[in-house]
């Protein structure tokens, strides 16, 4: 018995000893879909969708590079034909070739002074980009061409309840705006000529979660309103949608939304005249309108008990205005992506990785 057990064991392999890199050659337009994965599992993945052929390739990072993408993929952006992926809990930013999906460069937390958990990347030029962070009270500056760390910007924010987070970034002129989500109610303004935080906007609602800039220079900000758990609350737990003039920094409108349990995300159409908003369902709003419509533009699917699908991420194709919505399902299985036309007609749907949260368009 022992001998047979030994032979059996000797004949078997326990682990996946890496996979041979696969050759890809993605030409034409395509959509990268970042799937966040589960925190501390290292199972974040990247998918690639061809809108023309409606074919999807899942797990392309690992297949192209023979290595894992990492833990908790937070955001993806394409700049100068290179896809940059911020892997939050891995502490790395990948630069990927958008045709072969091979790694062209990387910036790790260990190579910088202050980066801990990178969240979003904003490109000022081919040689300068900012990185926000969940924990660090600094914004990291790096050169996207060389993937070298070049400096950092103190956010000058006192750590609030143990957090000092910065999230998404948008630019208007020489100003970059970034929202402080965790336990904060601030929008920071960075002077890009001096790389310093030069101003801030204080909101009445807590935890600004997502931002978008329209064609008129109006900054749209949505908060999640804090939380309410049992008898403990922080903020009023009601998401608010703000419209802020990016030049004067004046708050022009503040609209509370009618939900207290929603993931909220913003996106703009290609000419930045229409705002899309995930708030359980997807809403569509002209940027000149005074209020978010009562009826959703795209309703989330519901099961027979009326439970909605968990819409988690949204992206709009800058080439044709197609809307891509990620559905987390139960957050522990392959998520779904729904592709709609700009008019809201479902064009396609497909499975990707766990918790699709970000889209980048080639």
């Amino acid at each position: 018995m022992l001998l047979s057990a030994f032979m059996l064991a000797a004949a078997c392999s326990n682990s996946d000893p890496g996979i041979e890199p696969e050759a890809f050659g993605a030409t034409g337009r395509g959509v990268f879909i970042l799937c966040e994965g589960n925190y501390q599992a290292g199972n974040s993945t990247l998918s690639y969708y061809n809108p023309a052929t409606r074919e999807v390739e899942n797990g392309i990072f690992q297949r192209a590079n023979g290595a894992k993408l990492g833990d908790t993929g937070q955001s993806i952006q394409i700049y100068d034909g290179v896809a940059y992926v911020a892997m939050e809990n891995s502490g790395i930013i990948w630069a990927l070739d958008t045709a072969t999906f091979r790694v062209r460069g990387q910036l790790t937390a260990g190579e910088t002074e202050h980066m801990i958990n990178p969240r979003y990347i904003h490109f000022l030029s081919s040689e300068k980009a900012y990185v926000t962070d969940l924990y660090s009270p600094y914004i990291t500056v790096f050169n996207p061409r060389t993937m070298q760390y070049t400096g950092s910007i103190s956010t000058r924010q006192a750590i609030s309840f143990g957090y000092s987070s910065t999230e998404e970034m948008v630019q208007w002129g020489n100003r970059v705006f970034t929202n402080c989500w965790s336990y904060s109610n601030k929008i920071l303004v960075i002077d890009t000529t001096r790389d310093v935080v030069c101003d801030s906007i204080v909101l009445d609602s807590w935890q600004p979660k997502s931002m978008a800039l329209d064609s008129r220079g109006k900054l749209w900000v949505i908060t999640d309103g804090g939380y309410s758990t049992g008898d403990d609350s922080f903020g009023d737990n009601i998401p608010h949608l703000y419209c802020i003039d990016a030049t004067t920094l004046a708050i022009e409108s503040d609209q509370p939304l009618d939900t207290d349990e929603a993931n909220v995300q913003l996106a703009m159409n290609p000419d930045r005249t229409v705002l899309y908003l995930i708030n359980n369902d997807v809403y569509r709003m002209e940027v000149t309108a005074s209020h978010v419509p009562v009826r959703p533009f795209i309703e989330a699917g519901r099961n027979k008990n009326g439970t909605r699908n968990y819409l988690y991420g949204i992206g709009v194709d800058p080439h044709n205005g197609d809307i891509y919505v990620g559905d987390a399902v139960d957050y522990r299985q392959a998520g779904m992506v729904y592709r709609y036309s700009a008019e809201g007609t479902l064009i396609d749907q497909f499975r990707v990785g766990i918790t699709p949260n970000g889209f980048a368009f080639k």
Binding site: M1, L2, F6, L8, A9, C12, S13, N14, S15, D16, G18, I19, G37, A41, G42, N43, N58, G59, Q62, N65, A67, K68, D71, M87, N89, S90, G91, I92, V103, A109, G110, H114, I116, Y135, S136, I159, G162, Y163, S164, Y183, Q207, Y227, T229, G230, D232, F234, A262, N280, G301, N303, N305, D327, A328, V329, D330, Y331, R332, Q333, A334, R351
Partner: protein, 639 residues
């Protein structure tokens, strides 16, 4: 090593009617001072141990249930964390347990409620009439691992005292090929160090008139680094990520045995303090990533009485009261101040009657009532039966049916954010059947147990993320567990002092999600639960000749899925089957003044590269040697 083997008695006890039990004796538990209970359960039971590595969190699952469905008792007192409902078996040195009973499925109701999967019942045992004994073991192994064990015991006719100390420390920075990173570099396990101290004292007194008093105390201090993921690119020198754990447990007991009565009273106290810290101090700026504290205290009293009016009747009653208090704090962005600071009472009452109407047939009925806060769970009934088919082989057929309930843990109810005070207890119904035999001859012995079970759990408490980004528990899940468990042990004594012992355990445990679909695209219905293997097997062989002993251990888990939909289209969707081989060789020396032994162990003999949890690399082939010294004194002789 000179180990005391606990002999299995041939007498069938009415108390054990229909019970599916696996007994781990000191021969198994005390085979290696470096092993924790999680290692022992992995190698010698059908339980599935989900482990993040040596000296990291390890939980035990019976029959494809969850770790919180395993109730754990130490000298009669439940030691499941009142916060989480689970036990980290990596913090229990196997050398501190003299006997462990694994009660499968419904059989756990003979001890406690809430064990929807089963119960692990651990005991220290007195050593009356043994005189003085001193034992010291020094272990030294790979990755700068050092294990020290010291035990002093004294036992006379009335008193037994045992003092044990374990100190284990390791840098645990093993090298591994990191297949998760570009170019598959060779890296070291980062932040995997540990520094654990355990001290245990137990004292027993018996008066020879049926009274026995016991006092058991156990203190643990543990400092453990929390290893970085294989996909972490931070410098471990910039970050500190560690868990400090302190625990003190004490139980005092009084048992009285009379002709027809056994009565007992117990009291206990459990204190646990956990501190998790993950922070960086780069450039003199300190940033906390995790800063969590929890302190729990548990008081416990229990009284039990057994009445045996006739040889074929046994009636038992048991009442246990627990008071748990937990103070939990962390830096979550979702609450201010304490996470929660609350206490709750728990009451357990059990009545049972066991009856042997004819020589070969035994029946047993249990009624159990439990209450937590001010909420009573429904009465838990359980029925057991067994029939002796062939007495020379001790061939017995067993069957049982039982309801069971597990009430929510305090985190389930009160954790912020997400805790749900409206949770209902989880409900289970289990059907068990099986065969058991034991044959003992002069030259050989054979024992085997085969059981099949069918179990349905509804209102399974499941934490799922909500739209706000935090996790919330709800009574979401229905799970169908079924399958078989087999254990077999064979021992052969051969000529010229050869002795061979072979032990095997196998479990087939489909654990199928039958919950209503969360959404119309939920593909998890009808799929195996995450991280639960369908097959688990272990085999061990022990060959001894005179003063030499060779031990071989083989462990296998089938593939485990990492997603609820069991999707294997991408590589992180499953963990490949797990095979592990360990071997040890021991030589004992017996001099007049001293006994000694030298033992060498090779763990992961084939140098397998593997993970048991995604992105958590495990150590390759590693070595440890142990030197044991036992001075020999004049033994106390019974008059």
């Amino acid at each position: 090593m000179d180990l005391d083997e606990v002999q299995v008695t041939g007498q069938r006890r009415l108390r054990d009617t229909g019970v599916q039990r696996t007994v781990l004796d000191s021969l198994v538990l005390h085979q290696n001072v470096a092993l924790s209970m999680s290692d022992i359960l992995t190698q010698h039971s059908t339980l599935f141990i989900k482990s993040y590595g040596r000296a990291t969190e390890s939980t035990a699952e019976f029959r494809g249930t969850s770790p919180s469905h395993t109730q754990v008792l130490w000298n009669g007192m439940k030691i499941n964390s009142p916060m989480l409902g689970t036990v980290d078996f990596s913090t229990i040195p196997a050398y501190f347990v003299d006997q462990a009973n694994l009660l499968h499925g419904a059989s756990s109701l003979t001890l406690t409620g809430g064990g929807l999967g089963g119960a692990v019942d651990m005991h220290t045992l007195p050593l009356f009439d043994q005189g003085h004994s001193l034992q010291y073991i020094q272990g030294a192994g790979s990755f700068r691992t050092f294990d020290q064990f010291l035990r002093y015991t004294y036992g006379n006719e009335h008193w037994s005292s045992s003092t044990r100390l374990v100190y284990s420390t390791s840098k645990n920075d093993f090298k591994y090929t990191n297949y998760d990173k570009l170019g598959h570099p060779t890296e070291r396990n980062k932040s995997g160090y540990f520094d654990d101290v355990h001290a245990m004292q137990d004292v027993y007194y018996r008066d020879g008139k049926g009274n026995r008093i016991g006092l058991m105390g156990w203190y643990t201090h543990s400092l453990r680094g929390l290893p970085f993921l294989s996909v972490d690119y931070k410098n471990n020198t910039d970050f500190k990520n560690e868990h400090r754990h302190d625990a003190a447990r004490a139980v005092v007991s009084w048992d009285r045995t009379l002709d027809q009565w056994n009565v007992g009273v117990r009291g206990g106290y459990l204190w646990q303090d956990n501190r998790y810290d993950y922070f960086t101090t780069r450039e003199t700026v300190s940033t906390d990533i995790t800063h969590a504290r929890s302190r729990s205290q548990q008081g416990y009293v229990q009284a039990n009485a057994d009445w045996m009016p006739r040889a074929n009747w046994l009636v038992t009653a048991d009442l246990a009261l627990y008071y748990n208090h937990v103070r939990s704090t962390d830096k979550s962005p979702f609450h201010i101040g304490d996470n929660y600071n609350l206490g709750r009472m728990e009451y357990n009452l059990s009545l049972s009657a066991k009856y042997r109407p004819v020589k070969n047939l035994s029946l047993s009925a249990i009624l159990r009532e439990e209450c937590y806060r001010h909420d009573f769970v429904p009465v838990i009934p359980a029925l057991f039966a067994e029939y002796v088919i062939h007495r020379p082989w001790n061939l017995v057929v067993k069957a049982s049916v039982a309801r069971n309930y597990r009430y929510p843990s305090m985190d389930d109810l009160y954790y912020k954010p997400g805790g749900n005070p409206n949770l209902r207890p989880e409900r289970g119904i289990t059907y068990d059947g099986g065969l058991e035999c034991r044959i003992e001859k002069k030259r050989y012995s054979l024992s085997a147990n085969l059981s099949a079970f069918d179990s349905y759990i509804t209102d399974w408490i499941l934490w799922t993320p909500n739209a706000k980004g935090y996790w919330q528990p709800s009574n979401l899940k229905k799970v169908h567990n079924y399958g078989t468990e087999m254990t077999a042990t064979a021992m052969v004594r051969m000529k010229h002092h050869w002795k061979l012992t072979l032990t095997g355990n196998y479990a087939f445990t489909p654990s199928i999600n039958k919950s209503e679909r969360l959404a119309d695209n939920d593909a998890s219905y009808g799929k195996q639960l995450v991280y639960v293997p369908r097959h688990s097997t272990n085999l061990s062989g022990r060959l001894s000749w005179k003063t030499w002993t060779l031990t071989y251990q083989w462990t296998h888990y089938s593939e485990r899925f990492t997603t609820t939909s069991n999707d294997v289209s991408y590589i992180t969707g499953r963990l490949r089957p797990y095979f592990m081989n360990d071997i040890s060789l021991e030589k004992t020396f017996q001099w007049r003044k001293c006994h000694a032994s030298l033992k060498g162990c090779v763990n992961n003999l084939l140098g397998s590269e593997y993970v048991t949890v995604l992105s958590r690399p495990m150590a390759g082939r590693n070595f440890e040697i142990f030197l044991e010294i036992k001075p020999q004194w004049h033994k106390h002789k019974k008059k």
